[in-house]
Symmetry: C5
Subunit: 250 residues, 5 copies
């Protein structure tokens, strides 16, 4: 599990709640109608922005991705190097019997085993990479959209509160509390955007960049397999994708 | 019909109106001159920004797109695979008699049947795709432009209200209500931008991305047809455009 | 003439002025020094941002473009198709005698008639297109720059008014009117940016996209001429640039 | 000298200062500590943002560029056309004796005279163009960075002033003047950003675009020289870079 | 060491602290709970945005980069020119014994010595460059993300303070100090973003651009080595990467 996300969420909420309690007026920060208009409004607008399937998918993928622990790129490089070793010592066809967990790498290797042309293998793999990137971008767009709309609905709520308060200034002692309540929607919108939706969109972006890196290593690796490169050349080439700190001695 | 858009619009307005009624002063939220200056100003400026035909077209396309239910990409892949099957078993010319609903796919297939070179077919289809993208972007630009101008006119209305109020502070009891009215244009602008124009622009963007995906599948499929790829290769290649969840077993 | 621009400008100003008059204090919205600092400041800064020739040119081109009625792309396609017909029936040299109004198309055809290589014709036409785009972008940049600077000078004027007012709070009855005057520069800046400069920049962008489309049709058409494509192929190809609604039956 | 920059700077400052004097409280707009914190803070942060050499260079290049009067592109085209004439009538080697002021053009011509391959000449010239663009972008980044940081430090100064004022509300008569002083840093930051740094960044961008245009004309021209194009073809091709208004009859 | 960063940081903080002390109420600017919520919240959200390893790495690389003194590009050009000299006079294999400090250049030269094809050498070096750029962008993203989140948490803290203050207006004398404290989180957020995170992100960007420049010189140089270009051609070509001021006479 990706503990960073959990630590961050728990930490941020703990800090905000502690700060609220230190003010000695914690009950003043809960106003159910304000909660409903900001959360409800944000979700309603999200359904105008995105087809229903896309929103549901973004949340499903989002949850999985936020809790997902990324694997080690060296494992992939080691696997491809060993595949290239097998292909050299035995034959490309021998790769058919090797057990490959990753479906993307497996598909590429199977295309090679089937004797597809280098152009076809690369083009199928690159199309898949390209459209995976587009689907990831769509998921991030849902979270970013919610991160824009939450403060907007916070502001709309505050405007409603202010108009109500200003139309009825007869009792001066009610001005302060009325304005406090009006500000709550802005506060909720800011929390939702800055503690949840926007940081989550960033993490999805980071995870997507990692997936893309892994798939680019696999595309380059399958190309090398097909060209029959020497395993040490394969390893050398694939190491170039990694930061020097993550590389293994060749 | 695309229910998400409808649910979102109804939900967002219901929430805002409920919140207003809970304040017990719903009548205070209606001010006809404020409505006129924000809506009228936004539309007037839209006609400065875009040629008249473009605005009318954006609304026509917009309505159709917002209510439109996207089709299943598997249907397209199945159709192209069966075309490739027909072309292999009979001949490319046999495709002429197949009934193809989509005008873009039909045009591509007809070019192939006419014996046009692969370069010409691809270039005609890609030009059409490229300029469809540009027309879609233009439609989105109209909605985004209105989403920028509505809050701007909201602010202009509020400034007019504030200047009027400040020039005439003699009666203190009128300050509150005058300021409440001044804030209404900002409120209307925020609602128009964040509940209508901006989320609609996002949905148009999503729908356009879907159309582009379908057309890219068709271009790749027609190329495969023309090269005489085996139907199973065609299917394999076109599946790569889809998310693993949407793919069919080969 | 492009009536949309005119309708928009007249409509937006009429709405703002009506709203001001309804407040019953129209005189309070005119303050000559405020007008001078916002308009003057915006223009002064524009001369820091752009060379003098560029500003003057942007205004000249701007006026022409805002009032310009775009022509029908079908006319261009019809002309090129008929040229291709002439070239086939007679010869490329016969094109020399055809009357072509558009200087860009004429230049391309003349290069073809002179027997220049296909590479040279395309490269000369594409260089011209590319640098026309750059000059258009420059013109838009002038209007966008003014649309950014007008509100900035509005805010600077308001800050000056606020500092003056705050330094001298002895007479409470003068606070309101002084603040009203201070807000006027913000109001002028918002009007200038949102009713004039920014929407005009958008329309210039739209018009430029149209010019680019026409020139791309011409480049593709001249290429087809030179390759001796059949007139029906030329028409088919050039129709792909247009939206289905604008196409003619082939 | 580029008079537009000068006119703009003098005009903008004259307008702001006149407006201040009309308020009758010009002395209230000068507060040395506020000046120091905004200017000093902006420069300090600039040194965190950019290596020292880059900042100094940006100012040196900036001053030169702001005062620089751009040359006529027709002079360059005329020079290259005459070089191509010489090369045709005499020989490429004869170009060695021609006096060329521009170091970039001279280098390109010298490479041609030395008999370098067309690929090498183009690649050396394009590398130089590409990295000149990068250095120019860096210079603009310095000015844009200062244009972002000046208002930020203005706001920081205002926050310090507000906290000081609010902690000590005992004397109501001091509130106004204290707040006036607090606003001064925001005012200084807005002036520095909008009258100096941001417009200067835009002018550097414009000048850079001009330099790039000239260098692209030179690269295309040297290529034509090397291929032995006819002088009239060279001229025709290079004119395509210019706006129709700037072109000479061929 | 890079003194500019140090001078900037010390200078900016000195200016802010001096300004605070001049207000005579320095103690009023320290509020531990406000410090905790802004710094803590920013870091907590950073862990939601980025995987833990990425944050730690960004800080490690950040510290190294901020204190790093960039080397002289002429040294690299001189080294590559001398390598090309050795390769010409002796042989490519003789390069194996030359001592090369930079691991990237060393790897490229070793690939050449091993007799790898030009395509392979270039592709390995370019993959390494591309993914180094991506890692650098990730590091900058961490700092930029913190620079966005610090003011957001400043605003959240201020909203909490305002709601607390407004709910309890009974004692008018407490309003000022309560609001002063509420503004402190906005002040801390502005300082953190504008004095630390955002300028540091810019410097990382600048340093990365320098590293990229050096690596591009090395890639071009290794290519020249492999093609056996004459040392003077190598030098000529590599000088084109530098600004004229930094070039050496050839």
């Amino acid at each position: 599990m990706d503990i960073a996300t959990l630590i961050g969420l728990v930490g941020a909420f703990a800090l905000v709640i502690t700060t609220i309690f230190m003010g000695g007026n914690a009950a003043g920060f809960i106003d159910i109608p304000s909660v409903v208009v900001v959360i409800g409004g944000t979700f309603a607008v999200t359904f105008i922005m995105f087809p229903m399937g896309v929103v549901i998918n973004a949340f499903k993928v989002g949850m999985k991705t936020l809790l997902f622990k990324s694997s080690d790129p060296q494992d992939i490089i080691r696997l491809i190097t060993s595949l290239s070793d097998t292909a050299r010592k035995e034959s490309l066809v021998a790769l058919e019997k090797v057990n490959i967990d990753d479906p993307f790498l497996k598909k590429g290797v199977m295309l090679v085993v089937d004797g597809s042309s280098e152009g076809l293998v690369r083009s199928v793999m690159e199309i898949e990479l390209e459209f995976m990137k587009q689907r990831h971008r769509q998921g991030q767009a849902v979270f970013k959209g919610m991160g824009t709309m939450a403060p907007a609905f916070g502001m709309i709520g505050t405007l409603i509160g202010l108009v109500n308060m200003l139309s009825n200034l007869s009792d001066p002692s009610s001005i302060g509390p009325a304005m406090a309540v009006a500000l709550l929607t802005t506060f909720y919108g800011a929390i939702m955007a800055n503690v949840m939706f926007l940081p989550m969109a960033t993490k999805l972006e980071e995870r997507s960049a990692e997936d893309v890196l892994f798939m680019q290593i696999m595309i380059e690796g399958v190309s090398s397999l097909q060209r029959g490169d020497h395993p040490s050349v394969v390893k050398e080439k694939l190491q170039a994708f990694l930061s020097p700190a993550l590389r293994e001695a060749t």
